[in-house]
């Protein structure tokens, strides 16, 4: 089993199995014409993110796991993923860290982890009313009252509380 060397934004080197190419389209393309002992530079991925990505890859044994449920059905991420470890993994992170991780996984073309992060953010929106969301994310009201009323009356049923069945 050959190993490859990844170099983070800060210049730190990490050794990892070449099976990582199963999860990352970027690495997969590079390995097409890769020479032994060559360093792979990841200019957009910080060391912290790279560590997390490797932790995720090692846990899943370099195999693509089942994607999260789409559309999500519960505000709790654990109900939407098949592996409870995935839920614990993203629940450790705060919102900024998740968004950083999304950017890093996008650079690495690592769809499985990106989907997990996106589903986690979607869970933050689910079952929250507009006032709570505005408060939580510091969104100042941009619409005038009339426009807001019109937007609401377009789909009156969408504003009703959703049943949990």
């Amino acid at each position: 089993m050959s190993e490859i060397t990844l170099v983070s934004k800060e210049g730190t080197k990490i050794q990892i199995s070449s099976q990582f190419s199963n999860l990352s389209g970027f690495i997969h393309n590079i390995l097409q014409d890769y020479q032994q002992n060559e360093d792979i530079s990841l200019a957009s991925v910080s060391f912290i993110n790279l560590q997390m990505i490797l932790e995720y890859a090692v846990h899943h044994n370099f195999q693509v796991p089942q994607p999260p449920r789409c559309p999500i059905t519960s505000p709790n991420i654990a109900d939407n993923v098949s592996d409870p470890w995935d839920a614990e993994f993203v629940n450790r992170l705060n919102e900024d860290q998740i968004i950083d991780l999304v950017t890093a996984t996008n650079f690495l073309d690592m769809k499985s982890l990106m989907d997990l992060c996106l589903a986690k953010i979607a869970c933050m929106f689910k079952y929250k009313d507009i006032e709570t969301l505005r408060k939580e994310y510091g969104i100042t009201e941009e619409f005038t009252a009339e426009i807001e009323e019109k937007l609401k009356s377009d789909f009156p049923w969408a504003m009703e509380a959703e049943s949990n069945d």
Binding site: L118, F143, K152, D154
Partner: protein, 408 residues
């Protein structure tokens, strides 16, 4: 929130269901424009991330939950590309189903007085009957004209119970739906569905296929019941209804909502004299769209609504100084409330043998069950069907029935 770039926002939205999305539109301008963006809806259709719907082409013999229909990944209409406006249009028409039959067009056979237009009026006791046949493998059809070109959602029908003959019902064995723009040519054809032998509404769902047409043809395939005395086979229907939405009318999302909000459930029900057959009741009973809708808006559970109807019904009959007329509704009501003796009595009186056997199994009256099996004048559940009924009641009942039937 400002840190999230637009493409990430689009990706996040693809994980949200429609209700959450439409609600988030009100949040701010950026959300509103991202959600109204057609690329989001196009992506929702083509994305491999979206699981393909469990519903495929053809029609279905039951009504799914509204939330299932509203899962837009399963709506497919070749004429309308998946844009926000088109999706919004569908959501609004799906929320406002209407009765769309204009008149009966033609029928394979009918009696001089028992014509096909009798099935359009639910307030009368009249019915349509086919001609008598010696064989049960004869087919019938009925063609209905709609109010202009319409989107067709559901087709429901109810078989007639001839109380004056001792209560037999005359359903077809199977049923099939055809939809077209002329009465002679049809471009949509459903699968064939088995018809339940009871008085419930049999509902065939055309959704999530978006099918437009002016004529609906219902094929009634083969027959089940012989008339006592003449020993001839008939197909007899008491009511047919087709729900959908006319293509020319602009949907008004607030119409039904406002009705429900302005009047409570009790008022809506009391407006209809005939509790057994009004359009609304039939919708509550068998059309899931309305059912879900009422449940969502009235804050009552399904059982509470059912109990309410039974209570209203019983009250009404006591006033008239008659006994409670047995229906599937009353029988199911007693069964749900574990009054099995009464449930059995009601099932027996309406000749619902599935219900009768259900009661036998749960009351463990195995000798009576066997005696019913030997009769030949009416179709009763066979061995496999009995096991199926028992399985629905619980695994221990299935085990017991297997032992009982093995001894035969």
């Amino acid at each position: 929130m400002e840190k999230i770039s637009n493409w990430v926002l689009l990706e996040i939205f693809s994980y949200l269901d429609i209700n959450s999305l439409l609600e988030s539109r009100v949040l701010n301008k950026r959300f509103s424009s991202t959600i109204s963006n057609n690329s989001l809806w196009k992506a929702k259709f083509s994305s491999s991330r979206y699981k393909p719907s469990t519903y495929h082409s053809g029609a279905y013999f039951k009504f799914p939950k509204t939330s299932e229909i509203m899962n837009f990944s399963c709506i497919n209409d070749p004429d309308k590309p998946p844009t926000f406006e088109n999706m919004a249009y569908y959501f609004n028409i799906l929320r406002n189903p209407q009765r769309i039959i204009k008149c009966a067009h033609s029928v394979s056979s009918e009696d001089y007085t028992q014509t096909i237009d009798k099935v359009l009026d639910y307030n009368t006791n009249e019915f349509w009957s086919s001609k008598p046949y010696d064989e049960d493998n004869t087919n019938e059809f009925a063609v209905f004209e709609l109010t202009g070109i319409c989107y067709v959602f559901t087709i429901s029908f109810k078989t007639y119970r001839a109380l004056y003959q001792g209560g037999p019902i005359y359903p077809p064995k199977r049923v099939k739906i055809l939809i077209g723009n002329t009465p002679d040519e049809y471009f949509f054809s459903s699968d064939e569905f088995d018809v339940e032998i009871n008085e419930n509404y049999n509902t065939i769902l055309v959704l999530p296929n978006i099918v437009k047409g002016k004529y609906v043809r219902i094929d009634f395939i083969e027959k089940v019941t012989r008339e006592p005395g003449s020993e001839k086979y008939y197909t007899v229907l008491s009511f047919v209804e087709i729900t959908g939405f006319p293509i020319e009318i602009e949907p008004n999302p607030n119409s039904l909502e406002s009705i429900i909000k302005s009047e409570n459930l009790k008022n809506i029900v009391s407006r209809h004299d005939e509790i057994q057959s009004p359009f609304l009741y039939s919708q509550i009973n068998s059309v899931g769209l309305m059912n879900d809708f009422l449940l969502a808006t009235s804050n009552l559970s399904c059982n509470e609504i059912k109990n309410y109807f039974v209570a209203v019904y019983e009250q009404k009959n006591e006033e008239n100084d008659t006994k409670v007329y047995p229906t599937n509704l009353t029988a199911d009501f007693y069964f749900d409330n574990k009054d099995y003796e009464r449930a059995f009595e009601h099932y027996r009186r309406i000749y619902d043998f599935y219900g009768v056997f259900k009661c036998f199994i749960i009351m463990e009256k195995h000798t009576e069950l066997k005696s019913f099996l030997s009769q030949t004048w009416y179709r009763v559940p066979n061995y496999a069907e009995i096991l199926k009924i028992a399985r629905k009641l619980g695994l221990e009942y299935e085990q017991k029935m297997k032992e009982v039937l093995k001894k035969e």
